[in-house]
């Protein structure tokens, strides 16, 4: 099939009077790794939640493999959600279940797979992210932050989704563990041939895992380009962001309106 994997046009979402997404246009190619950068509160999380189907947008179109999904009913939307895997910012592991059952959750509950077979796959996925089978028996609260992220990554890829969404994969990790996670993401994207969308404000991570970078500011995409071009974007917003300068066109809003 040709055409982009995901195509978003004119996406809008407001919460009360606050406009969060103000007409987003973006395409994600097949097996491409797109990173969306932007400050806190610029609408990154809302954008990916709209794409995955956790939030219903107010207006605009989201096409998945050329098929419109933005206006689907709840039941059909759940079916398209099966194409996605998501790594949540805080991991969002189920603390009532052991690690292996977390990884196997989508297989057992979502696909109705036999528990024993699902456990085997879970252990294989844990190995892919560098964790031994013995970790599978622990409870998520016994793991360090980096290990929780790895388990969450294993869970996101366990059901072999076509698209994986990474929500701030390196936030809260030390630089070395961040790099480990980055390499795992690159490896998973390459090996599994998935399409990846990540949001982050960690530029080291963004440069490492992306093919292409898009910057979001005040609910609009203000720049997109190949990763190598980000240093000569000629866009002063992008320059300010990637160099982390306090002064520039982007003014921090002290109070969210």
């Amino acid at each position: 099939m040709s055409g982009p994997k995901i195509s978003v046009r004119g996406l809008r979402k407001s919460f009360g009077r606050k406009v969060v997404l103000d007409g987003i246009d973006i395409d994600v190619g097949r097996q491409e790794s797109l990173v969306i950068i932007g400050g806190s509160g610029t609408g990154k999380s809302v954008l990916i939640k709209c794409i995955i189907g956790l939030i219903q947008p107010d207006a605009g179109s989201i096409k998945l493999d050329g098929q419109e999904v933005a206006d689907l009913g709840r039941g059909d939307r759940e079916k398209t959600m099966q194409k996605f895997g998501m790594l949540f910012q805080g991991g969002a592991l189920f603390d009532s279940l052991p690690v292996w059952e977390n990884v196997a959750f989508g297989l057992i509950q979502g696909r109705g797979m036999d528990r024993a077979a699902a456990k085997e796959i879970a252990i294989r996925k844990l190995a892919q992210v560098g964790l031994g089978a013995e970790v599978g028996e622990l409870s998520p609260s016994e793991l360090s932050g980096g290990m929780q992220k790895r388990v969450a990554l294993a869970r996101a890829i366990a059901a072999e989704p076509e698209i994986v969404i990474f929500d701030e994969p390196t936030t809260g990790l030390d630089p070395i563990m961040s790099d480990v996670i980055n390499e795992l993401i690159v490896k998973c994207v390459k090996e599994l041939g998935i399409t990846a969308i990540s949001i982050t404000h960690d530029m080291a991570s963004a440069r490492k895992i992306s093919d292409r970078i898009a910057m979001i500011y005040k609910g609009k995409i203000i720049w997109t380009g190949a990763t190598a071009e980000i240093d000569r974007s000629g866009n002063e917003y992008v320059d300010q962001f990637i160099h982390g300068r306090a002064t520039g066109p982007i003014q921090m809003e002290v109070r969210a309106l």
């Binding site: 956790l54 959600m81 998501m86 910012q89 969002a92 509950q109 979502g110 696909r111």
Partner: protein, 259 residues
Amino acid sequence: MLDFLASVGSVFFAFLTSTGRLAIFAGTALSHCFRPPFYPRLILRQIIDIGYYSLPVVGLTAIFTGMVLALQTYTGFSRFAAESAVSTVVVLSVTRELGPVIAGLMVAGRIGAAIAAELGTMKVTDQIDALSTLSTNPFKYLIVPRLIAGLVTLPVLVLVADIIGVFGGFIVGTYKLGFNPGMYLSRTVDYLQANDVISGLVKAGAFGFVVALMGCYHGYHSKGGAQGVGAATTHAVVSASIMILLCNYLLTALLFANR
């Protein structure tokens, strides 16, 4: 004056909004009760959590309620030489009214709070969104098992509470007030109709559903970290308690008043 009217109006609208939200939430949850997939293992676990682990606290409140009821009734009734009615008053009060209400309120404190805290924490740590992304409907996986468990376990709990409450009255009646044990028991049974017990159990089912519903609703809609979860827990317990007392009156007035 206009300001005053405006604030009254906005409070009223806020009340209507939240009532509507709750009704939609309840409707969605109920519709999921009848559509597969079902999770019998989760229902069973909730039944154990809600029912079995609530037995001690419900049993203790029931026995003291029965005991104090016998004492108070005796004090009052002996003033016009009607002591012999004590056992009947105890059994009717416990089965028709105090058993369901007190068990309901205790379970609201114990279970409503626990449900709201658990679901609230899952909400603020994205675990509920994570369920959706793993092809699992949060309503079916989290809320339906709790509602069903609340609905079926509370009547059983109340039946146990009824027996323990009557037993509490019996202990006080025979050991402290000097009733003949056989006479006390036969008077307990003589004036008791099946409908007295059944009406209490129907109420209990409604209360169990209300407690689970308020816990789920407030937990599911909590936001804003630890403080939000705390607020959700408080709201769940308070609203469940008020709803129990309100439903208690309505059910009694509508269904059981004339029998």
